[in-house]
Amino acid sequence: MKDIQITEHSIDIASCINRVMAPDVGGIDVFIGTVRNETRGKKVLWLEFEVYEDMAIKEMNSIAEVIMIQWPVHSIVIHHRIGKLQVGEVPVVIAVSAAHRDAAFDACRYAIDALKQTVPIWKKEFFEDGAVWVAAHP
């Protein structure tokens, strides 16, 4: 089972976890991204996430499909929030369940690494003295 969502509302972590639970599951790995109060020593005020939604959903589905081919996992949930997020809020939750924990760990880590590399979502960091699109410039 895979459950891919992009939302403007706060992500319900407990419900992401419940979605991947099942009687034939032995281990669940969950990654939760949180908005950090600083980046390279500069105080972050808030973040804004922009998305190319159709493509992002496609890419997130394709990450989940690659995972299901590569590892014996049971279920995958990937929820990404967009819009304006404050420090401490949660832009992304990935939950992966499997019969055995190794697959859950490997797949969950693959999912967040792949998401950060390919999914068309952009993060703008707002500081006291301006704003920067993360990773845009060398």
Binding site: E50, L115, P120, W122, A135
Partner: protein, 98 residues
């Protein structure tokens, strides 16, 4: 009249009009292009590589990005891919989700 390689609702053609496409721009590309959509018109099928060159000529700030990709119909496109009339084309600056 020759108005070569201009964009933003105008003409990218040497000869006669043939194909119009709408390009979506996201994140910093949206800011560089000062619009979330750019309408361009070509007189022949072009490749992704050519489109990127045209875009950079029109918006030199794109060249300063770490990189940018072109997506066609919601998928990353190779440099050699040919863009067709009804394709959804997007400028994808370096992503930073998560």
């Amino acid at each position: 009249m020759r108005r070569d390689y201009t964009a933003k609702g105008v003409i990218l053609s040497r000869r006669f009009f043939f194909m119009s496409i709408r390009i979506l721009a996201f994140g910093i590309a949206r800011e560089i292009c000062n619009s979330s959509t750019i309408d361009v018109v070509f007189d022949e099928n072009i490749t992704v590589e050519v489109l990127k060159a045209l875009l950079v000529a029109q918006y030199p700030a794109l060249k300063q990005l770490t990189s940018f990709m072109i997506a066609v119909n919601g998928e990353y496109a190779q440099a050699s891919a040919v863009i067709s009339a009804n394709d959804e084309v997007a400028i994808i600056p370096p992503v930073s989700g998560g």
